[in-house]
C-alpha cells in the first residue's frame, strides 16, 4: 500500500468512532499494544525531546525502504506515534519525503500537531522526513 492508501485506511478506521472518548481509547489501546522500538535504540541520540513527552525514533533500511520504529513515555503520544509510523514506515525515502500527512487533520487530531512544545510529534515527523537522507542503503 502506498502512503495515501494507508492514510485513507486510517481515516476510515477512525470514522467508525462515535465520540472523542472512543477515539482516544483506540489511540491509547494502540499505544499500549505496540512495542514499537527495540530497547537498545532508546538512546539519548534517538530521543526527540518534546516539552513534555519524550519520543524515541529509530530508522533501518531494508531493500531500499525505510523501516521506522519509535516509542514515547506518554501513552497518547505513543498511540499517535504508532499512527505516523504505520503511515510512513516501509516506504522509499522519496515517498516519505513527499508525503503529505493529511490523515492527522482528517481524524480530528490536528491539535496534537499544533501543540509543538507539548509533544514531540511534530519534531518526530520532521525527523522522519530528514532521516532517509542520512540512511545508507543496505
Amino acid at each position: 500500500m502506498c502512503v495515501n492508501e494507508i492514510q485513507d485506511e486510517l481515516i476510515e478506521e477512525f470514522s467508525l468512532f462515535g465520540d472523542w472518548m472512543e477515539k482516544y481509547e483506540h489511540i491509547i489501546q494502540m499505544g499500549k499494544e505496540l512495542p514499537l522500538i527495540d530497547e537498545q535504540y532508546k538512546t539519548d541520540e534517538n530521543l526527540i525531546k518534546g516539552c513534555q513527552a519524550k519520543v524515541w525514533l529509530h530508522a533501518d533500511v531494508r531493500d531500499g525502504k525505510i523501516l521506522f520504529s519509535a516509542d514515547s513515555d506518554a501513552i497518547i503520544t505513543k498511540g499517535l506515534v504508532s499512527l505516523v509510523v504505520r503511515v510512513l514506515s516501509n516506504h522509499s525515502p522519496s515517498e516519505i519525503m513527499q508525503a503529505d500527512l493529511y490523515f492527522v487533520d482528517k481524524i480530528g487530531l490536528k491539535e496534537h500537531l499544533s501543540m509543538t512544545r507539548s509533544n514531540g510529534l511534530v519534531s518526530m515527523i520532521k525527523q522522519m522526513k530528514i532521516m532517509p537522507l542520512h540512511c545508507n542503503p543496505a
Binding site: 472523542w20 482516544y24 481509547e25 491509547i28 513527552a53 513515555d73
Partner: protein, 415 residues
C-alpha cells in the same frame, strides 16, 4: 459553622464575580470551561477589558514626551497607575516602582544592573531549588559573565526549602539572595521573612520573585523590608506585557541602567550621556502604556474584593481540591508544604501528566501539565512533570467536583 459559611458567601460572592469574567462563560469541546491554569495566566474582568478599549479610544498617546493634551492625559493615567502599584505593595515612593514587561524582565534587570555594579569574581548568588527558570537562568548568565558562583538552597520531600542549609551558605561572599515568594510548580510559600532577616544581618539584599504571590497574598514591601520584588500583570487580571520591579531607592540609585534609549536619559551627546532619575532611568523606550494603565484598573478590582478575602477563599479551594483528590487511588501530591498558596500539583500512579492533561482538555478543563519551567525541581522528584491545578477567586468548589470526576475518568481511560 453555618454562620461562617454565610459570612464567607458575603465576602466572596463568587457567582457575581464570575459574571465579571466573560471568558468563564465559554465552552471547550462542548463543555463549560473549567479554568484551572491561573498560575500560567489569569483571566481578565470586564473592567480591565473595557479599560484597554478606553485607552485606545480616548487616551492613546506617548507618555512623558508631548506637551499636547492627549500626551498629558496618557501620562497622567500612566503615572496614576504607578501610584496605585506603589500603594498596592506599600512602596515608600512611586519612583521605586519600575514598569517592566514582566517578572522575567524584572529579574534580568537586577541580574544585569546589580551584577554589573556589585558582583565580582568569586562572589556568590543564592537561589533555591524551587525556582522557575526565569529565576535561575539570569543568575547563571551573570555568574558566567562575572566568574561568580551560584548556590542553590536545597528542599525537602515536602517541597520546603532548608533554612538550615540556607544559613550555612550565608557569608560575606554572598552578594544577593533571589528567591520565589510562592513556588509556581508546588505552591509552597517560602519563609521569606526569615530569609530576609538573616540576609540583612550580613547586609545582603534580597530579591523576591512574587509572580505567584501578589495575586494571592497581601504584600507590604516596607514591612517585609525586601530590597527587590518582581511580578507580572497578566497573572493578576491585567493584560500581558506589563510587569513591575520594585526596588529600594538606595539600591536602584547605585545600579547602572539596564537598557539604553529614549526616556532613560537626561542628556545625550556623543561624548557623554547622563541618565534620568528614578524610575525613568530603568524605563528605556516607549513603555507598554495601555497595559500599565490597565494594571492600575486590575489593582482597583483586586482591592475591591480584598486580598485577605481572596487568600481565605483560595485557601479553601486548595484544601477542598486536595481532600477530594486524596480519594483517588495512586494519587501522589508533589509539594505538600505546610504553607501553600493556590496550587495543587500531582501525578497519578504511573500515568504521564501529558496524557492526563489531554483527557482533561477533552473534558473542557484547562490545567497545566509538564515541568512548569522548573526542570531541576522535577529532577529532584524524579518525575517528568506534574498535573497542576491552580486557582483564582473566580473558581468554585463545583468546578473542582467536575475536575475530580474528569481526573477519575482519565485514570480509567489511561489505566
Amino acid at each position: 459553622m453555618k454562620t461562617d459559611t454565610l459570612l464567607r458567601q458575603e465576602v466572596i460572592d463568587v457567582q457575581s464575580i464570575r459574571k465579571d469574567f466573560p471568558i468563564l462563560g465559554s465552552k471547550v469541546n462542548g463543555r463549560p470551561l473549567v479554568y484551572f491554569d491561573n498560575a500560567a495566566t489569569s483571566q481578565k474582568p470586564w473592567r480591565v477589558i473595557k479599560a484597554v478599549e478606553h485607552y485606545y479610544t480616548d487616551l492613546n498617546s506617548n507618555v512623558h514626551r508631548g506637551v499636547h493634551h492627549l500626551s498629558q492625559k496618557a501620562t497622567d493615567a500612566f503615572e496614576a497607575s504607578r501610584r496605585k502599584v506603589a500603594g498596592f505593595i506599600n512602596a515608600a515612593h512611586d519612583r521605586e516602582v519600575i514598569f517592566t514587561n514582566g517578572t522575567t524582565e524584572g529579574i534580568n534587570l537586577v541580574a544585569h544592573s546589580f551584577g554589573k555594579g556589585f558582583v565580582q569574581a568569586g562572589d556568590v548568588i543564592i537561589i533555591s531549588a524551587l525556582e522557575h527558570h526565569s529565576n535561575i537562568v539570569p543568575w547563571q548568565l551573570l555568574c558566567e559573565d562575572r566568574k561568580a558562583i551560584l548556590k542553590v538552597v536545597p528542599i525537602n520531600e515536602k517541597g520546603e526549602i532548608s533554612l538550615e542549609a540556607f544559613k550555612e551558605m550565608l557569608d560575606e561572599k554572598v552578594k544577593l539572595v533571589s528567591i520565589s515568594y510562592v513556588s509556581n510548580s508546588l505552591g509552597t510559600i517560602n519563609p521569606i521573612r526569615t530569609v530576609i532577616k538573616w540576609s540583612h544581618e550580613l547586609n545582603i539584599p534580597v530579591l523576591l520573585d512574587a509572580a505567584q504571590a501578589v495575586q494571592h497574598i497581601p504584600i507590604d514591601v516596607q514591612e517585609l523590608d525586601v530590597d527587590f520584588l518582581a511580578f507580572s500583570g497578566h497573572k493578576m487580571y491585567a493584560p500581558t506585557g506589563i510587569g513591575v520591579l520594585y526596588g529600594k531607592e538606595e539600591w536602584l540609585n547605585q545600579m547602572p541602567p539596564y537598557q539604553g534609549g529614549g526616556e532613560m536619559i537626561k542628556s545625550v551627546s556623543f561624548e557623554e550621556t547622563t541618565y534620568n532619575e528614578l524610575p525613568f532611568k530603568f524605563e528605556a523606550g516607549t513603555p507598554n502604556i495601555e497595559a500599565a494603565i490597565c494594571l492600575g484598573t486590575a489593582i482597583d478590582y483586586i482591592n475591591e474584593i480584598g486580598l485577605e478575602n481572596i487568600l481565605q477563599y483560595e485557601h479553601e479551594l486548595v484544601e477542598y481540591c486536595t481532600e477530594k483528590l486524596s480519594e483517588i487511588p495512586g494519587i501522589r501530591f508533589i509539594g505538600t508544604a505546610d504553607n501553600k498558596a493556590s496550587v495543587v500539583s500531582f501525578i497519578v500512579g504511573e500515568l504521564h501528566p501529558y496524557d492526563v492533561g489531554v483527557i482533561l482538555d477533552q473534558l473542557g478543563i484547562a490545567v497545566r501539565t509538564g515541568h512548569h519551567c522548573t526542570q531541576p525541581l522535577m529532577g529532584f522528584f524524579c518525575i517528568p512533570g506534574t498535573v497542576r491545578a491552580s486557582f483564582a477567586f473566580y473558581n468554585t468548589k463545583a468546578e473542582i467536583d467536575v475536575f475530580i470526576e474528569a481526573v477519575k475518568k482519565a485514570v480509567v481511560m489511561l489505566g
